[in-house]
């Protein structure tokens, strides 16, 4: 239960093709994260899967059944929206019960399910409150509660944490991960957040302008980005991409090295540069460096005593050097 397969799915809004033909298989029980720049079609893709938008061509199969023409309610999927989309006029209990009521379940059964879901989500004490009386994290949990009672074959999340503040985001991230470990239901999760993508996903799908750039586990993407786009997109701070003569030395069009894979010294090394900004976080120091190879960012663990204007030397860790051809693709 919970395998979703997209076959040559396309989507146009009027004249503009938002999703060019796209194939994707999401396995049962997987936690799949969609990432990509704003406007690349993440939400659209999710909504196509949910059935909230018609696909222009292609087919969507859920558990092997063609679901292309099936209405959103019938696909057996549950969605958690960015704004949570709780029903503000209903209590938490009614919110969670709503899908069951729509399914015509009898009151006793509904009650049992709601109680169960509430206890899983630590909402038991809030069942009679309205969404307006809840904190952000609690609302988030109600939205999830509403999704889980339906026992969907897959959950769809569209940037569910983006409205929360940083501290809460960390907590909720952990909670969702735990939920996935408990339920083992397929989850499709859209986010902008690097950390969320890296920490939660079994599989990350990187999208650009509706195209899939790469699919793989977080560490796969971190270690072996398929092209410069993925290389630049995954990882924070961004990978330094260097082209020109330095890249040519390695026989490729572009080389990439992550900020954490560069050793910095004040005395000597491979590349020389001048610090433009030094960001001291205590735990780390980020140096933004102007060098002959262009603007670069490097990370130094702990505290390093450099300031704006200092000259430093950088030495890349060759084992972590990434090489890309003229077409942007990784060369082995």
């Amino acid at each position: 239960m919970g395998q979703i397969e997209l076959k040559k799915v396309t989507k146009r809004f009027g004249e503009t093709e938002v999703i060019p033909p796209l194939d994707l298989v999401i396995g049962e029980g997987e936690f799949v994260v969609f990432v990509g720049p704003s406007g690349c079609g993440k939400s659209t893709l999710l909504r196509l899967i949910a059935g909230l938008e018609d696909i222009t061509s292609g087919t969507i199969e859920i558990d092997g059944q063609d679901a292309t023409a099936v209405g959103p309610a019938k696909r057996g999927l549950a969605m958690v929206f960015q704004s949570y989309a709780l029903y503000p006029h209903m209590t938490v209990r009614k919110n969670i019960a709503f899908p069951l009521k729509m399914a015509g379940m009898d009151a006793a059964a509904i009650n049992a399910k709601v109680t169960a879901a509430a206890s899983v989500l630590n909402l038991t004490d809030y069942l009679d409150r309205r969404p307006g009386q809840l904190s952000g994290g609690q609302r988030q949990r109600v939205a999830i509660g509403r999704a889980i009672v339906r026992e969907p074959s897959a959950f769809l999340f569209d940037e569910p944490l983006s409205n929360l503040d940083a501290a809460l985001r960390v907590n909720m991230r952990l909670e969702i991960t735990e939920l996935h470990q408990t339920l083992k239901t397929t989850m499709i999760y859209v986010t902008h957040d690097q950390v969320e993508a890296m920490t939660m996903a079994d599989k990350i799908v990187v999208l650009r302008a509706g195209n899939i750039e790469q699919v793989g586990s977080p560490l796969e993407l971190y270690r072996t980005p398929r092209n410069t786009f993925v290389a630049g997109f995954i990882g924070s701070p961004k990978m330094n991409l260097i082209d020109g003569a330095e890249a040519a030395k390695h026989g490729v069009a572009t080389i990439g090295i992550r900020p954490e894979h560069v050793t910095v010294s004040k005395d000597g090394g491979d590349w020389q540069g001048r610090v433009t900004v030094a960001e001291h976080l205590g735990s780390d120091t980020f140096l933004h460096v102007a060098s002959d190879l262009g603007q670069m960012t490097v990370r130094v663990g702990g505290e390093m005593n450099v300031r704006h204007g200092d000259t430093i030397w950088m030495t890349p860790d060759m084992t972590h050097l990434h090489r890309f051809g003229a077409d942007g693709l990784r060369t082995p």
Partner: protein, 276 residues
Amino acid sequence: MARSITARRKTINTAIAWSIGLLIFFPILWTILTSFKSEADAIAFPPKFLFFDWTLENYAVVQERSDYTRYLWNSIIIAGLSTLIGVIIAIPAAWSMAFVPSRHTKDILLWMLSTKMLPAVGVLYPMYLIFIKLGLLDTRTGLVMVLMLINLPIIVWMLYTYFKEIPGEILEAARMDGASLPKEIIYVLTPMAVPGIASTLLLNFILAWNEAFWTLNLTAAKAAPLTAFIASYSSPEGLFYAKLSAASTMAIAPILIMGWFSQKQLVRGLTFGAVK
């Protein structure tokens, strides 16, 4: 902006605002006061403000002359039902406009409003003939229909601006949760829009209550509302200010009281999306 304003400033503001408020309210206040005067006091010079012989005689005379309660009841039924039916028809239309907008949505909305600009007198005769044909003259049904149609554009517009503020995601959530379209509207949209619907009901109730052209021309006895009641006082023999005032007070009192109680709702709804 939130700097302390002196008590003096606040006093001055209060004084000016109260003066203007009272000035605006004065005609109504004066009408109410006059309704308790004798005819002689009503036109006395210098005018008597509070110190006159208060009397209820005018109300007694007015009540004796015409059956106020029947007019009142007709007004309530006609204004209430026309608004209610209007809202019931308008909710689906406003839903469509707000949540499934098309290129023509705005055109349709503006077209609807433009139907309100037709001069009513120009079509009185045709309407009268149609009403005769349909046997609707002097029936509440007929008036409810007409007033509903007159106010429908405003109702649609108000609901549309309200609905637009409701995030579409909630309706989508309902759809994902398995709600059919009618259920989505009944269980999710309508309850969420209750404040908006309430103020729409209110404003249009007031507009229907005060509508004086069709209500006067399409009724005789049975369905006549308060606008017809006041028409029989509009120029009685002699200028009986006190009786005129009593009748006027009786005609506006119910709506005035209702309006005051629901002021907040009304104001919020009145903005027609002008205020975001």
